[in-house]
């Protein structure tokens, strides 16, 4: 049995895959990518700014054809899309960046939702605190859960980790049913919401999705910037190394366990945050929303968007949330269709819609551009080759 690094192609195959990726990707993507890389820094920022503003305005514009009305309020649908995007962003840290297969991510989501409702709902016997305080609290609590789950299980390899996380998700769901404090099916009514009123009506309410959408998108933007920085730091490089080959990373001196735990904790915190946001928007939490199929939908969002690509997974999450809301007639067929899509996607485009080309993250955009302009670097010392395996024996 060769290396058990489960989530990546191994060794020589990998080098081959790097070469192949360019061919598999349709031309539009390549063209877009190179066009983007040719823009100067401020042009990139400007375009990003426009995209973000458009994203914020999406529910206000309410484009025909795209809109989910009349069956679903478009602003609330947008909130759900954004929420799935945030969830996918968090799960992407675990699956896409560190390469740990987590099938029980819904567990963290549930813990976040229950944290928010336990500390704000009048149905809960606990001390009540303002809703906004529950967001950091939910993140802290889920990190604790993530570490408590991670310490015993992160020494396990791929498939074992998958079943253990699946079990964790189920345990959380079952505990929500069994433990009386968590109120099972009855659930918590009137979960708190952020403060603020206009003309006596609360800004944030279950029926008005717009503020919630903006709130969530703001979180997505912040998290993406933070994760982007993390990705380019020592932590991100360590995750990259672990994902590609855990044994090699360990031998090269990467404390793999600690970094895997960090990935688990980061992912868990984002899951908790998303859960708390959902609890706040819906205003009601019970044990019915946290089942394994939903957990797998989260994973599907990450896979669909392309693991490792932050923007990609957010779009993947939005699509996964959007399709059943737009095509309500689908009903139970949505899971069937997701299943077919997953199989087809794995057959024809296993890197997802916006698969990230594996690249060394050490280099800033400036250096990448310079390297590109000057052609592939020579063998002289000090200039590391951009993608080592490309040039065969010469390197």
């Amino acid at each position: 049995m060769s290396a058990h690094s489960p989530l990546s192609s191994v060794g020589a195959k990998q080098a081959e895959a790097y070469g192949k990726l360019g061919h598999q990707r349709p031309n539009w993507y390549l063209r877009m990518k190179s066009w983007w890389n040719d823009r100067s820094r401020w042009q990139q920022w400007l375009i990003l700014l426009i995209v973000v503003v458009l994203a914020y305005l999406l529910p206000v514009i309410n484009p025909p054809l795209i809109t989910t009305e009349p069956s679903n309020d478009f602003a609330i649908s947008c909130f759900n899309m954004a929420l799935y995007g945030l969830v996918a962003l968090g799960l992407n840290v675990v699956v896409g960046q560190a390469g740990l297969l987590d099938l029980g991510y819904i567990g963290f989501f549930a813990v976040g939702a229950y944290t928010a409702s336990l500390w704000t709902s009048p149905d809960s016997p606990l001390v009540h605190i303002p809703y906004l305080w529950t967001l950091p609290l939910a993140m802290i609590v889920t990190v604790v859960f993530g570490i408590a789950l991670g310490i015993p299980t992160l020494r396990l390899r791929g498939d074992y980790l998958a079943i253990v996380t699946l079990g964790f998700g189920e345990i959380i769901r079952l505990l929500a049913t069994i433990v009386p404090v968590l109120k099972g099916n009855t659930g918590f009514q009137n979960v708190g919401r952020p403060p603020g009123e206009i003309d006596g009506a609360p800004i944030f309410s279950a029926s008005n999705g717009l503020p919630w959408y903006w709130f969530t998108v703001t979180f997505i933007v912040i998290v993406m910037i933070l994760l982007g920085n993390l990705e380019r730091s020592r932590v991100g490089r360590a995750w990259f190394a672990i994902r590609e080959d855990e044994d090699a990373a360990e031998i090269m001196g990467v404390p793999t366990f600690r970094f895997k735990l960090a990935a688990f904790g980061t992912g868990a915190a984002l899951g908790g945050l998303s859960g708390a946001l959902l609890a706040g928007q819906v205003g009601f939490v019970n044990n019915q929303k946290f089942d394994v199929p939903t957990s797998i939908l989260f994973l599907a969002a990450v896979i669909l968007g392309g693991q490792g690509n932050k923007l990609g997974v957010v779009i993947g999450g939005a699509i996964v949330a959007y399709v059943p809301l737009r095509f309500t007639a689908l009903g139970g067929w949505k899971f069937l269709i997701f299943g077919i899509v997953l199989v087809l996607l794995m057959i024809f485009r296993s890197q997802g819609l916006f698969g990230k080309k594996p690249k060394l993250l050490t280099y800033t955009a400036r250096i990448r551009r310079k390297v590109k302009k000057e052609g592939p670097p020579g063998d002289d010392e000090g200039t590391p080759p951009k993608t080592a395996p490309r040039r065969g024996g010469a390197a």
């Binding site: 195959k13 404090v181 299943g339 077919i340």
Partner: protein
Amino acid sequence: MSSDWISFDFGALIDSFWATTFDGLTLGAIYALVALGYTLVYGVLNLINFAHSEVFIAGAFAVVFFLSALGFGPSAPTLPIGMLILDLVLAGIIAMVVSGGTAVLVERIAYKPLRNRGASRLAFLISAIGMSFVLQYIFYEWRGATAEPAVTMFRPKPIFEVFGSIIDSQQLTIFIAAVVMMVCVDQIVQRTKLGRGIRAVAQDPDTATLMGVNKERIIVATFAIGGFLAGAAALFYVMRVPSGVFYMGGFILGIKAFTAAVLGGIGNVRGALLGGLLVGLIGNYGATILGDSQWTDVVIFIVLILVLMIRPNGILGSNLGEARV
């Protein structure tokens, strides 16, 4: 905060220890049969066949349909024993064919194209999950969310008494039939030419191919064997849990069976047997001590985590390829 939601009642376990044990072994035998399917496929392809739970429930649907067509209903039929056995054997064969066929179909649709493209292991897993969704919701769209009407095959008769508790004909049938089948599979893997091929592919697919093993045929055979066992398990499942046949039924049992395979050491045929029986027992003991069957899965998963902490590759650990001749 109330703290009476969890109470350990060891007295309840001591009172009904043997009855709980026998029932646990019966359930465990069913889990073990399904676990074998996971383990064989994992051994050969290093792939968690997530769709195996649906392969199993397809067989269960077949059993229910077939027996209903023969006139079996909620109450036990009054048939001569010979007819009954004939009917049950026929139902078993049909379930095995349906499950085996489904397993091979899943392999052809979801895994073979990926193999031809040399996809990564995660891609296989996602494809498996996708296939599981597809099958699950085909059943959902076809039969709805409610369980099929119960089919009772026979009224369990007490056979003999051990330590003051009764072993009935149902438990005995399931346990003996399941164990016989597992021994057969173990012997097939250990002794026949097919088994040698399976072990060879498990150990090193490329070398096995060079040595003249037809890898594709071995893979299909592995899926088929796993499917046959799942079909047999489906018959016993309908016998033991008559009202448990609905679209999520496969998932609920499959997750336990998969846990069993991992607990025993995935890829290990004997590990699946051991793991299955252990999961059956642990689940039953846990539910008895904690006084609620809802605890079953929680206890099973906690035990799984604890065992994996000590033995990260499961109890028996070694995989199919390393098994000795």
